[in-house]
């Protein structure tokens, strides 16, 4: 027996074991049938336009909490709270104030507010740092004549800095912590960063405190873990923000800004419902406010380890199914810092299979039901921003958190079929 043959035999044996591992999954796929699984999740009961009547194809989201794919699906507790909130009128100033007190209690920070999202929080924070609570200045923004208006971008620019610029903020770049000191001037209104590790934040704070300049930590996709909700306050970060419609599972057009009372008060003074404030256009209703509080409440007593196990199992099932295709390998990892969910990476020899990552993603999209995968491409990124960023390797990945129960089998089975077909055709 030649060396190659032995290799093949070993491969075959390995594949047989993989098929064996996937066997129970095949059984449940066959018994449910993909079509009925999907039909069960798509119900329609009113005469108002639904997705189908608008010509919109809903999708299985294996890509993660991208805004253009509508973030995450709301937690049941969020739907309930948003629904309950919709039956009564309240004064939004009072509601934001009460939300602030509630967020303070849970976070350990002095205060908080609900924004239209992380970008809305960044805009409100910037406007607050530039105009403060002076009505003349608030009305004057985004014209910053006579006002401190430089914002130091610690770590560089990003896709969302228009939220700073629209309030009149002038960007000053400090690529590393060592550049921070020199970047701060008498005109500095705020320092902004997306860094989330204790070490770099602590080092930055040493410099910003000395200079009397507030530091905003943008943690848009940093929950879960919920620990970050309190950690930044403990580190003494002046204020920090999260997106509500990503990992938190709150309303998509909601977010949180948490931190020092004086800074939150100033952010509120520059926000809706104030008529004449620069952030008036970034609306958030009572439903979104109560919805996001319900999401925070959920996370404050949720066992992340249990959720991680559930998420891990979803991608493990998909891994088992796709590994039945000879030549396909997988790995599961949890990214650190943000989007910290079990994430499956699927690799194959694109040349040998005659199938690129992009082609595979396209086939997944075109199939029924439609499946969106994570690749290096980002359909919602403006070209000039893309050029600014270091390109990501083009890998096919499955993010567990946005998959709904049962969808893992649909994704795994389809992916297996697409890869297997490509392998057979090119063999």
């Amino acid at each position: 027996m030649s060396k190659e043959n032995i290799h093949e035999r070993t491969n075959e044996r390995r594949n047989f074991l993989k098929v064996l591992a996937a066997a129970p999954l095949f059984a449940s796929i066959a018994s449910k049938s993909v079509a009925s699984t999907v039909a069960a999740t798509i119900k329609k009961s009113s005469t108002a336009p639904g997705y189908a009547s608008l010509g919109i194809r809903p999708l299985i989201n294996a890509r993660g909490t991208y805004t253009y794919l509508s973030g995450s699906l709301e937690l049941p507790a969020v739907r309930q709270a948003a629904g309950d909130a919709s039956f009564q009128f309240v004064d939004l100033y009072e509601l934001q104030h009460a939300a602030g007190k509630w967020l303070a209690k849970l976070s350990g920070a002095e205060s908080g507010m609900v924004t239209s999202g992380a970008a809305g929080a960044i805009a409100a924070a910037t406007a607050g740092c530039i105009a403060g609570t002076n009505p003349d200045y608030i009305w004057q923004l985004p014209d910053t004549t006579g006002l401190k208006h430089e914002v130091v971008m610690l770590g560089g620019r990003n896709a969302f800095d228009s939220a700073i610029r629209l309030a009149g903020g002038k960007l000053v770049i400090a690529p590393t912590g060592n550049d921070l000191q020199a970047a701060i001037t008498p005109q500095t209104a705020m320092v902004y960063t997306t860094w989330r590790d204790n070490e770099r934040i602590t080092n930055a704070l040493k410099i910003t405190r000395q200079a009397g300049v507030p530091l905003l930590v943008d943690g848009s996709s940093a929950i879960p873990p919920f620990e970050n909700f309190t950690r930044f306050a403990k580190l003494g970060v002046d204020f920090y923000c999260f997106s509500g419609g990503k990992g938190l599972g709150g309303p998509q057009c909601s977010g949180l800004l948490i931190g020092r009372k004086d800074l939150i008060d100033a952010a509120l003074a520059n926000s809706c419902p104030w008529e004449g404030s620069v952030c008036r256009a970034m609306k958030v209703g009572k439903e979104e406010i109560m919805g996001i509080l319900a999401a925070v409440d959920y996370w404050s007593h949720t066992d992340l380890a249990t959720l991680n196990q559930e998420w891990q199992r979803r991608v493990e099932r998909i891994a088992k199914l796709v590994e039945t295709v000879p030549g396909v390998t997988t790995s599961i990892a949890i990214p650190q810092g943000s989007n910290s969910y079990p994430t499956l990476t699927i690799k194959w020899d694109e040349q040998r299979f005659g199938l690129t990552v992009d082609q595979c993603a396209q086939q997944m999209r075109e199939g029924e039901p439609r499946i969106e995968m994570l690749t290096g491409a980002n359909a919602s990124l403006l070209a000039p921003v893309r050029k600014m960023q270091t390109p990501r390797p083009n890998l096919l990945q499955v993010v567990s958190v946005t998959l709904q129960p049962g969808e893992d089998l649909t994704v795994g089975n389809r992916l297996r079929q697409v890869l297997d077909k490509a392998r057979k055709q090119s063999a």
């Binding site: 805004t67 309950d84 004064d91 809305g120």
Partner: protein
């Protein structure tokens, strides 16, 4: 009750007696039900809705009866049940928001007669999106460059002067140029004019279009509180207005943080290109989710077939009942009107001699607020106005300077709440009158 109503003073007394007679069936209803029962029967829609125990009181916030109208700081309006259902159904599926906005645009075009449309974060969000579109267009470099308008047309012409919401235009980098009248328009147009903005809804809009069309400058008509009547949804398209917008959370009773922008396909496409979910667009913070989009469409669907006459009758009935109750207090007079330019709902104005009653409008307003359940009515005060903007704005200045009066807007009251409002107002005014006499 009878002690409150001194009916012995000649012709006035007789008039008051007739008024009492008119209000008698309402008082009987109030007494029979008791106030508490009245409140809870107003709450047929959900068991969770009581003024003393609800999701808001749990965090120390007092809900209120809204007799003030669709003010944003008071949450606008309550969403229609159609809106709630639309949102709920939307929340169970992932969709691609680019596709959903395009699908919504086709649907809105069909209903409005305009070429296209989109759902925004509100009327202010629509203004920002429209301004960004007219300045940056669809060139990704320009889109990312905003609010820096270097190399682009960056002027926006404000017909009639500045408004309370023009920060929504300025945040895109726009420089405001004022044109007080239509006559000022031609000379105000320059090669740098990106857009003309107006809140005028009468014949002046056609006069504006006659000037802007040949100049090739798009007009945005901001009609935030223009629906109902739903006819405005189609009227501006017929007039050839390039872009127009409505607030979703006011008269339309869609989600509060939603609005509609309608108009020319090229301009709406450019507006979408400067909005969320585009990463790097200036309007990215003005988010609107699938729930708000579908909720808004459901509300529009409702209005497309709603019987406005029947609604107006219902609204009129609410303020007439209040009218009957407060007019039982001698010296109190009322009138009911329907404002013509926006907020077109039957509106009750309640007059009394503030000096003779020893009660100012502001004091009466405060007593209504302090009572249980809390009631908010319309007066001159606007707790949500940034003070500094008033000196830059004619309409706001006029409003602040005119004599204070107490008004009740019918539309935002919920069924049954009219009796609570009328009875409380009657008591406050009756007490003041007795104390002062």
């Amino acid at each position: 009750m009878s002690t409150e109503l001194q009916i012995s003073n000649g012709p006035n007394g007789r008039r008051s007696f007739m008024k009492l007679l008119a209000a008698a069936p309402l008082m009987a209803t109030i007494h029979a039900r008791g106030l508490a029962a009245t409140v809870s029967s107003a709450v047929t829609s959900t068991a969770k809705r009581s003024f003393s125990d609800n999701c808001y009181t749990q965090i120390g916030v007092r809900p209120l009866i809204n007799a003030r109208g669709t003010w944003t700081y008071l949450c606008g309006s309550l969403p229609l049940s159609e809106t709630r259902r639309g949102e709920e159904e939307a929340s169970h599926f992932f969709v691609d928001l680019f596709e959903l906005q395009a699908g919504a645009g086709r649907h809105l075009a069909k209903l409005s007669g305009a070429e296209s449309g989109m759902i925004t974060s509100g009327s202010a969000g629509a203004m920002a999106a429209a301004a960004a579109a007219c300045i940056a267009g669809t060139d990704p470099k320009n889109v990312y460059q905003l609010p820096d308008t270097t190399g682009m047309k960056g002027e926006i012409l404000m017909m009639g002067g500045r408004t309370l919401f023009d920060s929504a235009l300025r945040l895109t980098g726009a420089k405001l140029i004022l044109a007080k009248t239509v006559e000022d328009l031609p000379s105000a147009l320059t090669s740098q004019t990106a857009m003309v903005y107006t809140t005028w809804r009468d014949e002046r809009i056609e006069q504006i279009l006659k000037i802007t069309k040949p100049a090739g400058v798009p007009v945005l008509l901001d009609d935030a509180a223009g629906i109902p009547p739903f006819s405005n949804f189609t009227r501006y398209a017929k007039l050839g207005v390039d872009l127009y917008c409505f607030s979703g959370g006011k008269g339309m009773r869609g989600p509060q943080c939603a609005g509609v922008l309608l108009g020319r396909k090229d301009l709406v496409e450019a507006a979408r290109y400067n909005c969320s979910p585009w990463e790097g667009s200036v309007c990215r913070p003005m988010k609107v989710g699938k729930e708000e989009i579908m909720g808004m469409l459901a509300a529009i669907n409702y209005w497309a077939t709603a019987d406005l006459d029947a609604l107006n009758k219902e609204w009129q009935g609410r303020v007439e009942r209040i009218q009957k109750l407060v007019e039982t207090v001698p010296g109190v007079t009322t009138d009911i009107t329907v404002p013509k330019d926006g907020n077109s709902y039957p509106t009750l104005t309640v007059h009394w001699d503030e000096q003779k009653f020893g009660l100012t409008v502001a004091e009466c307003d405060q007593q209504l607020r302090a009572g249980e359940p809390r009631i908010e009515v319309l007066t001159n005060s606007n707790p949500s106005g940034v003070l500094a903007r008033i000196k830059d704005n004619d309409a706001a200045r006029r409003r602040a300077e005119r004599p204070n009066q107490l008004q009740i807007i019918s539309m935002t009251m919920q069924p049954g709440e009219d009796l609570i409002v009328g009875n409380r107002l009657r008591q406050i005014l009756g007490n003041a009158r007795k104390k002062a006499s």
